[in-house]
Amino acid sequence: MSEYILEVQKITKDFPGVRALHNVDFKVRKGEIHCLCGENGAGKSTLVGVISGVYPKGDYEGKVLVHGKETHYKSIRDSEKDGLTVIHQELALSPYLSIYENLFLGHKKPRFGVFNWDELRKESLPYLKRVGLLENPKTIVSKMGVGKQQLVEIARALSKKAELLILDEPTSSLNDDESEKLLDLILELKKEGLTCIMISHKLDEVLKIGDSITVLRDGESIISYDTREEKVTKAMIIKGMVGRDMKHMYPEKTPKIGEKVFEVKNWNVYHPEYHSLKVVDNASFFLKKGEILAFCGPMGAGRTELMMSIFGKSYGSLSEGEIYVKGEKISFSSPRDAIRKGLGYVSEDRKELGLILIQDVKTNITNSSLNQLSHLGVLDSYKEIRAAEEYRKSLNIKTPSINQLVQNLSGGNQQKVVLSRCLLASPEIFVVDEPTRGIDVGAKYEIYTILNELASQGKSIIMVSSELPEAIGMADRIYVMNEGRVKGVLEQKEATQEKIMHMALI
């Protein structure tokens, strides 16, 4: 048997009009944690698809060897028989079933067509214990947090007797504490002999747990490092990912801050289903012209809820409080009203709330501004195309044409489409909710540059961010929230990660 559990040799995979992978080589040793890094659109997910049989043999060129033998997978089922299990970014649990039902669903063979659920419940316990999940196995999974759901997925993989676990951005929707626990668990499982491939954007994590690191860029495997043989730094990985040195994570800026343009006083938001539950409690803040504000705080602090409820009552059963624009008291009755009055909002969930995936780039960009691109309700298609082209160029959206469907773009480019849509409606106050979530370092830098440029043009920006370095690197002032309340505000000069956490938690 070979020392490699997985070998990928000269894989090339084409999609209509686009080459996703080009001559990719990639090897994973038995019992190691191998991290896969690369910008969005670098081909990581496609590579996982090729390895796990999402794309059947013949759909790509090149060879995949598992345990030294070439594979001929026709579907994911075949790869699972060889002990490969993929845990996707979007979890694949059935939300209204319990933990133990999810654990065995789909791969456990029933005896005579009937499950003995009591027995299975007992059988689930050791797996749950191994991943450190202490919940009652009868708990319905949708009632647990994402972190625990992730553990169910891992337990499920263990119950399938997985030998090679592929985790696609496992920590992208977890908070710091949950991420920490998950990484510890992965290290623990490694000691028990499990091999892991982890895709991650978070370089701290990669350096913490990775034994080897492979970097993909533009569909090609650029370089592989072995952290046991050499000291690998973030800069080395970033250089591989973007093909250039990234000296500054955050672009330089010279803020020109003017008078107060936007103020929210005593804002309360109630939960959409439990009407007595306050999600935002008496929040007040203000924003100056040309300023970038950041809103920090742990998951569930109420930041998104605060912003969405201000943006035309898009969240909650009831919201109350006062909004002032340039000293004048104002209210936003709907998102439409808010946009008309100069507010722009980029959602944290770009696929569900930001984009219309089945439409093309052009339509997505112009959807908020059709009134200014039309005359008496009839569209001026030339004006529309010109507007979309202008934003494609100025925001550097990588797409073959503006007629490409946005679902075929990478995360970073999708985010730029959402930004374009909001910018085309020319807002004065621009709320961006987790603008760089799940996108790669290069695109992040581009988005930071765009935000700085807007601020220098005199627009005011509110950025909700869960990444503290990002908030500190970008914002002029930082509001810290927790449990629905604004706990305090820090100037950029005085802000440190420790201070922010201290303010949030005490």
């Binding site: 009009g17 898009s314 089945i358 569209l379 030339y382």
Partner: protein
């Protein structure tokens, strides 16, 4: 990512052909079905009389399909249109029998349909009751109301003028030469000239703005196919009784809604709401109002279809419109609409409706009964949608 198009220029013309085959596959299917039945019936279905009949027999379904495709694009379904046709059909007969004339009857019937649309649209859009349930209730409600206002017996029409709107023709006796209705030929020629001029103007504008153009051979092919089709239809109409009135009605409806869906803000909003309602709302689109408007439009078109069907039967029947909703829905799906919303076209729905109409007509000409017609239509629906989903996935267009 690497653009393979740039790597291989030869492939690009092939790709254009491939992309366009997908786009036009419905028309190809319709043509093939028509040709197959021509062979099976020994050319009878190609006769001037039969071509006119196909349009008259399917006119009300095609009108309904225009509204239904909008409903399906916003991700809803409307089960009530059959009952609505019966109800508005009865209203139209009653109005006409008061002696108010056809034009006023037409206007008032369409208004009645619009009002029913307002009623249903309110529940769907503002009370957030699923359209399936609202229109299921509407299906029962308006069938019941039809029985009540007609006393469950047919209403016959005061005179024969009413049925002209469906089975009548537009012609000028002074232009009738040797049994040929020259007016139809003239109208056909005018439409062809306008169409070619219009296409050339758009192309010139596009070139001036340096936008993507269809390669010349495809452009000429497209223009000649459309020209051929219009010429053929006008020849067939001229050869029989002139342009059927209902074709004019249908043509106006189709033209209006093709324009609305392609060129107007509200049309764009309809696609946006269907593509992702939440995202559309956060983009500043008033989703509720869009949904409301689409249901009102469906009501108005149901009113028109009810009137046309009354004209076709030359009386208002209490059981009229039975299963029309399913024919209209099937037409949309055969025509490439997506059941999850956001995708569909007016022309597609019309083509889908004609596919079913041609099959019905051809099988009737072959003396095959309704039993087998159902079976064949079911298979066509299934395979048309299967083909659509399959090619969509292959082309990377999602489902």
């Amino acid at each position: 990512m690497i653009d393979t198009k740039k790597e291989n220029q030869n492939e690009s013309i092939f790709q254009v052909a491939k992309a366009n085959t997908r786009k036009y596959s419905m028309f190809i299917m319709l043509a093939l079905i028509f040709i197959v039945f021509s062979i099976l019936t020994g050319g009878v279905n190609f006769s001037s009389r039969n071509i006119t009949n196909i349009f008259i027999q399917n006119s009300y379904i095609l009108i309904l399909a225009v509204g239904m495709v909008l409903i399906i694009i916003i991700g809803n379904i409307d089960l009530s249109v059959g009952s609505l046709c019966a109800f508005t059909g009865a209203i139209s007969a009653m109005l006409y029998n008061t002696g108010m004339g056809l034009v006023l009857t037409l206007i008032l019937t369409v208004i009645a349909g619009l009002l029913i649309g307002v009623y249903q649209g309110f529940w769907v859009a503002y009370a957030h009751i699923p359209a399936f349930i609202v229109t299921l209730a509407g299906m029962l409600l308006f069938r019941g109301l039809t029985y009540i206002i007609t006393n469950v017996s047919p209403i016959s029409l005061a005179d024969d003028k009413f049925k002209q709107i469906t089975s009548g023709s537009i012609t000028m006796e002074s232009l009738e030469i040797g049994g040929i209705h020259v007016l139809a030929l003239l109208v056909g020629a005018i439409i062809i000239v306008l169409y070619i001029l219009f296409s050339l103007r758009i192309r010139r504008n596009k070139r001036k703005n340096a936008f993507d153009l269809l390669p010349i051979p495809f452009f000429i092919l497209k223009i000649s196919m459309v020209t051929l089709l219009i010429a053929l239809l006008s020849w067939k109409f001229a050869d029989y009784r002139g342009i059927p009135t209902v074709v004019v009605v249908l043509g106006v409806v189709v033209a209006i809604f093709v324009f609305i869906t392609n060129k107007t803000v509200i049309g764009r909003y309809i696609y946006a709401v269907g593509g992702n309602a939440k995202s559309a709302k956060l983009s500043g689109i008033d989703s509720e109002r869009v949904i409301f408007i689409v249901h009102v439009i469906m009501g108005g078109l149901s009113g028109l279809a009810g009137l046309v069907f009354t004209g076709y039967m030359n009386s208002a029947l209490p059981q009229a419109g039975n299963l029309f909703e399913l024919d209209a829905i099937a037409a949309c799906f055969i025509g490439g609409a997506s059941a999850s919303g956001g995708i569909g076209t007016i022309i597609g729905a019309i083509t889908g409706g004609l596919v079913m109409g041609v099959i019905n007509n051809g099988m009737s000409l072959m003396n095959i009964g309704a039993d087998w017609q159902y079976v064949v239509k079911a298979l066509v629906l299934l395979f048309a949608v299967l083909y659509d989903i399959y090619t969509r996935r292959k082309a990377g267009l999602g489902i």
